[in-house]
Subunit: 334 residues, 2 copies
């Protein structure tokens, strides 16, 4: 397989470099955790508040981004680089990814988890060519779990278990989805108590997905479980594994999802917009726009007796759209 | 330290046996996962529905309980045994634990996660003497994480990291808790859309904890994050680690929390009832009743400049009680 200017050999080399870089960056994250645990350097208090009590950035975040950026710029000087920390400090919120080969990385996704030493934090490294995420590396160092993918090479957990985990054969989405599905969602940072604001729209959507079938004007979805991990990247990694069936989220950014999207798509997942179109029954199900801040992901699925795998996924997308509210997130250029 | 009839030496021996048993039982859980992943024995479809779509039990569940029970009865024939699977098949929902040394185990907590191969599942082995949980072993085999504790010996992750993770020194609960806290909660299985029923009371409580400070008639808690893992046992393990600050839950049973409670209490955590008393400011904060089905756990905490660690925990309990609704769960004998 070739992608843009890259041969499969070139992609393989870039993939190997990214996996190695992800592991090294993750080890940096874990070293700082170990320093905090041992009480070295008084580092347990080295937190700096940013924007709100829900958004903490640590020096680690910035250091790891510099490490990743330096390594990538030295090895691939012609590639563009977009990192969460550098972006957040800039003036613009424009969507900056174009046709060029671009690294889109988050040195530390799950920052709140990291500050509390809840293991659901990770480094996230995505490589995007012609707007498509084609390489993804996600490494969660506390539990030493690495998810990775390269176009043409499959998606993997710890480089040994192929994703989705059950692929002999991969089961279809359940006939009565979202029932029997694990639904992954996040409360996020926007907690403003505005009637019909994003927080309340999210909660209404969560409750629709959770409530018994037949309730809530036919919207009750009776999902099998509702999960919130606090990391968009890891949510996507678990959808790619097939552990979560549905992830629905608004408000995060392309660096939160670039690597996870690469892994999900290579594993056979589907990713589109969180916001239901006017006609949920017939609207085309378009590929996700990375910068849209509105995401709906469905796990990899195989055929049922009467549908292709893709058909079972699309049916699930429409069933989710029937139950969720439109969220209001936007940004220039996306 | 002695507990009831047991010397510390005897407790140490029982503790070592329980840790070994937990690892072996966890390996059984993981072998079955590996069989499903490889497609062996057609076992990926070997699920049996129970009570509702949200409550699946597998043959594995029963097999692992028999394995644990047999091992314990052979080694400690005088001890009582209470297992989730055996209990669930009985006629009675009475609370059966008395003064006698009793093993209270769940062969597989996080059953829904297990059926979906989401790694947040575990085996849970608790040992209770004179109504106090004094030994706890929780093993999550997918990520090879083991939490354990014995009265007088501390609480540990993987037998090497002392809990809570940050203990040099252990920080107090935040002055403005529940703000800055990670709040752990579960949607549970009861999804009946009854006005003012348990599901809606839970959701109202979650929203109070999450919403910005100043909102919701002063109840907005602006917690740092809301997390739902789908395993009461692992929720408690993460509270014991200090990863989660607050866990609030109703509806689960003593086998879901016995081992986790032992670990949490040995680590220095506090556990009491989920339901707010009439006067939240002055009501005594009583020790949890294991069979109450109503649980509020606060992470281990050290002193602040003006309070003992326990005082910072009790202050947090009262702030949670101000924000949550009473839940209606009951059972005979508890």
């Amino acid at each position: 397989m070739t992608v843009g200017p890259f041969s499969q050999d070139e992609l393989d080399e870039i993939y190997a470099f990214a996996v190695d870089l992800g592991r090294k960056a993750g080890k940096m994250l874990m070293e700082r955790v170990d320093q905090r645990i041992s009480g070295a350097n008084g580092s347990s208090n080295a937190f700096e508040e940013k924007e709100s009590a829900v958004d903490i950035v640590t020096q680690t975040d910035e250091d790891v981004e510099v490490f990743i950026r330096s390594a990538l710029e030295a090895r691939y000087p012609s590639h563009k680089f977009l990192g969460e920390e550098a972006y957040a400090k800039g003036q613009s919120r424009d969507y900056l990814i174009d046709e060029q080969p671009t690294w889109c990385i988050d040195p530390l996704d799950g920052t709140v988890n990291y500050t509390h030493i809840f293991p659901m934090f990770c480094v996230s490294i995505g490589f995007i060519v012609q707007h498509k995420p084609i390489i993804g590396v996600v490494y969660a160092p506390f539990t030493d779990q690495l998810w990775s993918s390269c176009t043409g090479r499959g998606a993997w957990l710890n480089e040994t278990r192929r994703l989705p985990l059950i692929h002999n054969p991969t089961p279809p989405m359940p006939a009565n989805a979202p029932s029997q599905c694990i639904f992954s969602c996040e409360w996020g940072k926007d907690r403003r108590d505005i009637p019909d604001g994003n927080m309340h729209r999210k909660i209404e959507s969560f409750v629709n997905m959770a409530a018994e079938v037949g309730s809530r004007n036919g919207r009750g979805g009776m999902v099998h479980g509702v999960r919130s991990l606090g990391s968009a990247t890891l949510d996507l990694a678990y959808v790619a594994m097939g552990s979560f069936d549905i992830w629905w989220e608004g408000g995060c950014w392309e660096w939160d999802i670039a690597a996870g999207a690469a892994i999900l798509l290579e594993a056979g997942g589907l990713m589109t917009t969180a916001n239901p179109p006017e006609d949920v029954d017939t609207a085309p199900i378009e590929d996700v726009r990375l910068g849209s801040r509105l995401y709906l992901a469905i796990r990899p699925a195989g055929p049922s007796a009467t549908e292709t795998g893709r058909e079972t996924q699309e049916r699930t997308v429409r069933e989710v759209w029937r139950r969720v509210r439109n969220l209001e997130y936007s940004r220039p250029g996306a």
